[in-house]
């Protein structure tokens, strides 16, 4: 643990810090993915200036959040990357392919570093590698040289070269101080002996070089390790992270609800005091004889009335917020549940990333110029399918590079662009995933191929003449056929088209091929999506079949109709008739009830419940379907499934059943919390586009007794401000849609919010920012990284000044 961690533990408890970092990691992934995408599209699909601006914005946001969660190395790396981009934006360095490639590699490296952060042994060399990648670009605009950058001189020297008018980040004194702190921790990776770092890199532990098998920047989805995918499911770290973050959100929800409950307790106490004051004065009324005494009592009564009014308002606000938060928790629980069923599913994104790497490597080896265009990143399919389809797809890409795409000179002669294009598109069609791999290369000359089949003795002349073009093309999938003779390093060995077809067929899919000579070849893979299957207990109530997730069903039993607990006697779980929980009118129930009824015993959160049913059908594998917007609000149902005969069967939510059966228990467990905060501070609105910062601010403010709402940008903030009065608004400056200054401008224009205290939290604090903040009568300006201390100094200047 670094010294930075110790400081942060003052601001957050360890659990919270871990979660914030988890959130940050997700954010960093998104941000870096955006950087990669923009770097690749700059100058092609997108104007360079736009791409660079967007990359800078994203990088900048990343820097701000990284500082807040104490990842100083990321702050430093992001800062350097931002600097390199700034040099392009200001025109000091032209946008070039080399630079674009470097940015992609830097983003890859940073992603790997962010993933490895918890493991210093892995992280340090990764950070060192990124520093090295950044060195030539962050140091100088002259031609890239492999000399390492001077440790901390780069930002200063760069800012000297910058024209004064350019809106690039300025180092706030505060920021500078933190920078120095981060530089100290940067020494960690630097402390690794350079020779060792070089060894690590040449072993392929760090670098994303030559081919996919040596690529370790995304180590977990390395395609070529030889273990059997049938016995092991490789789960993308991202997927686990999603689950972690869903679980983390629940923890945040729980914390918020607990704080709310604490506030309610404080309010109850204050109401009690007000009532006592009221009672005292009521007694006084009778004793009051003079006009002055009566007036004094009246005054006091007014005061108490005012207090009660204020308390009532707070109570209503708190309750409303509590409802919102319970709702959020319910949503997040649903999210977690969906996430769990989706663990088996993955999007094409990871697959595409892997293909991009493989293609880059293949193109480098073959000396070809090829560009990959992908579409359908969000297409989901079963992980087992995705994993087994990776090798065939890489094979198709290599084939395209070696056999399909012509050398640049030849392409130009044919009137094509010198750079070849391979398109990989994924989409879902019913319960099939369709993946198309299309190149714009030379295509397959069917006539020649026909000749070759005859010459090689594979086909008789008659067969060759009878075969349709389609037959000829598909004969390429037969074992031992190659359209070019030499077995080259890239595609001649390993699996050929025959194995592609075989692998796809084993997955229950098929592969088709079309080709136009001179225009290119397209392979179309059709694969089953596969389905999210889970285990459930099925039973019948009132003529319909329902399901409960097997994980919560501990037993089935036969229960006496008169029994109230099962097993009978003390310690037994309560018995309820499921039709009662389902509110099926008893008039429609079969009469008389049999003496003994079958029951399903479910356990949820240490509470057991025995539900009697009409008939237990038994455990089944079911495919979980979403309920959709009309049915999902109904509390008792978690989803639905379709029976073998096509009927909809509802899946009951064990948590809701337990809640319905024990209404008082659910509330009681929520109140067992820490002592309540001393007082309510008011209602605050936090506006920031970074989820991590929002959570951090919420945590800090809630600890001071604030009721906190959050908004991700100015537009959303204004919508909230319209609905509720806020006593404090804390906002970021740079946000999508509506930034902080515009938000404050709008707030100041409204009479209702003209004087609402506003605090700015920004990573870009310049003299100009300070001036504008003063003009807008902003209460305080906090430079990111955000700390609890900085926040308190701004919020309570007198109190903190005293200590």
């Amino acid at each position: 643990m670094t010294s930075g961690d110790r400081d942060l533990l003052v601001d957050f408890d360890p659990e919270e810090l871990a979660l914030l970092r988890q959130l940050f990691r997700d954010e960093a992934h998104d941000a870096l993915e955006q950087v990669t995408a923009r770097a690749q599209s700059a100058g092609l699909a997108e104007a360079v200036a736009d791409a660079v601006n967007e990359m800078m914005r994203v990088t900048h946001t990343l820097k701000g959040s990284a500082g807040t969660v104490g990842l100083d190395d990321v702050v430093d790396l992001a800062h350097k990357l931002e600097g390199a981009l700034a040099a392009v934006r200001s025109g000091q360095r032209p946008w070039s392919n080399a630079f674009a490639e470097a940015v992609v590699e830097i983003a890859d490296g940073m992603r790997a570093y962010v993933d490895a952060f918890g493991d210093p042994a892995r992280a340090a060399p990764l950070a060192a590698r990124v520093h090295e990648l950044l060195a030539p670009w962050s140091e100088s605009r002259r031609s890239p040289s492999p000399t390492p950058p001077p440790p901390f001189g780069a930002p200063a020297s760069r800012s000297r070269r910058r024209p004064a008018t350019e809106p690039v980040p300025e180092l706030d004194p505060d920021d500078g101080e933190d920078r120095a702190a981060s530089s100290r921790s940067i020494m960690l990776p630097g402390a690794l002996p350079p020779s060792l770092a070089a060894d690590l890199m040449s072993d392929g532990i760090v670098a994303d070089e030559v081919d996919a098998s040596a690529s370790t920047s995304m180590p977990v989805i390395d395609a070529s390790t030889g273990y059997d995918a049938r016995t092991l499911l490789r789960v993308e770290p991202e997927r686990i992270d999603e689950l972690m973050s869903a679980a983390g959100e629940l923890l945040f929800d729980r914390n918020r609800i607990e704080r709310r409950v604490q506030l309610l307790r404080t309010l109850t106490r204050d109401l009690g005091r007000a009532r006592q004051a009221l009672r005292d004065d009521t007694g006084g009324v009778r004793a009051a004889t003079t006009e002055t005494q009566r007036a004094a009592i009246e005054d006091r009564l007014h005061t108490v009335e005012g207090q009660i009014a204020a308390l009532t308002t707070q109570l209503a606000q708190t309750t409303a917020a509590l409802l919102d938060e319970t709702e959020a928790m319910r949503r997040n629980l649903g999210e977690l549940q969906r996430g769990l069923t989706r663990v088996r599913m993955q999007t094409a994104r990871a697959l595409f990333a892997q293909l991009a790497r493989a293609l880059r490597a293949a193109a480098r080896t073959a000396g070809a110029k090829v560009e990959l265009r992908t579409r359908g990143e969000d297409t989901e399919f079963d992980k087992a399918v995705a994993e087994r389809v990776t090798d065939p797809l890489i094979q198709l890409l290599r084939n395209a590079v070696v056999h399909g795409i012509e050398p640049p000179a030849e392409r130009v002669l044919r009137g094509k662009s010198a750079t070849g294009t391979i398109r990989v598109h994924a989409r879902q069609e019913g319960n099939l995933v369709v993946i198309e791999v299309a190149d714009d290369g030379r295509g397959v000359d069917v006539k020649k191929l026909r000749e070759r089949f005859v010459e090689s003795g594979r086909w008789s002349r008659a067969r060759a003449e009878l075969a349709s073009d389609d037959d000829v093309l598909h004969a390429l999938f037969d074992p031992g056929v190659s359209s070019r003779d030499e077995a080259d390093e890239l595609s001649g060995r390993g699996i050929g088209l025959d194995l592609v077809r075989e692998t796809i067929a084993r997955l229950g899919g098929e592969v088709r091929m079309t080709s136009t000579p001179g225009r290119g070849t397209t392979f179309t893979l059709r694969l089953p999506v596969s389905t999210a299957v889970s285990q459930a207990m099925l039973f019948k109530v009132h003529g319909q079949v329902y399901a409960l997730p097997n994980t919560q069903v501990v037993d089935t039993a036969f229960v006496e109709a008169s029994a109230t607990t099962w097993p009978p006697g003390p310690g037994g779980a309560p018995v309820v008739r499921l039709e009662h929980l389902l509110a099926i009118p008893s008039a429609t129930l079969p009469e008389p009830a049999p003496a003994r009824r079958p029951a399903v015993v479910l356990a949820y959160a240490d509470q057991r419940l025995v539900c009697t049913v009409d008939k237990v059908v038994g455990p089944r594998e079911i495919v979980v379907k979403q309920l959709g917007p009309l049915l999902s609000p109904l509390p008792l149902f978690a989803g639905a499934t379709i029976s073998g005969s096509g009927k909809v069967q509802l899946i009951l939510d064990p948590a809701a059943l337990v809640r319905a059966a024990y209404p008082e228990r659910a509330l009681a467990s929520a109140t067992a919390t820490d002592p309540a905060p001393e007082a309510l501070a008011g209602r605050a609105l936090v506006v920031d586009d970074s989820r991590a910062i929002r959570e951090a601010l919420t945590s800090m403010l809630a600890r001071e007794g604030w009721i906190v709402d959050v908004a991700e940008d100015g537009t959303r903030a204004l919508a909230l401000v319209d609905q509720l009065p806020y006593d404090l608004i804390v906002t970021d400056l740079e946000m999508p849609r509506m930034g902080g200054f515009e938000l404050i401008d709008r707030l100041r224009a409204e009479p209702r919010t003209r004087t609402t205290p506003v605090v700015i939290v920004s990573s870009r604090v310049t003299p100009d920012t300070r001036r504008r903040a003063r003009e807008l009568a902003v209460k305080g300006l906090i430079a990111k990284p955000l700390t609890r201390r900085k926040l308190l100094e701004v919020l309570y200047p007198t109190e903190t000044g005293k200590t």
Partner: protein
Amino acid sequence: MGVDLKNVIVFALGGARHAAELRWVREVVTLGFVTEIPTAPPGLTGAFNLRGNLVPVLDTGVLVGGRPGPSPRQGDGALLIELDGVMAALRVDKVDEVATLQQTPDGTGVIDSRGRVVPLVDPSTLVRRAVADSLAVRGDADGELALDLTADSMRPTRDPTTGAKTPPGFDGDTTLG
């Protein structure tokens, strides 16, 4: 204003004919087995499986006559409505025709090929109401705590000079009196 033409689907329900604008109707389907949904609000009469997806069935009777219609059964015809991503089926007795018909001057109906006025109904209101009703079921289940508080307490305080709420926490005053 000139003649207003509408693309409509004309259907029969409860012995009367009605028309709905075609833009609300995604397709005409035959209901599969309709599963009842306990705890659902009255207008939500069940759900069925349409090509592997769950589709709720709404009571169309409320839309055309204000009275609940018959329970939907397997084999009944229904209009599949999609509104803002909400999919729902509206049971009908029979689908008459899909036609471009002239709207009545008051806009409440269309005139069919034989010159009869067919009242125009808006299925989207039914879907919106069903969503609101469904959300209300959840609200009731969770909201007991809120119900008795919100009614009175949200009123503004009568006398702002006593106990007026200053933004707490900014004048060193962080307590509530």
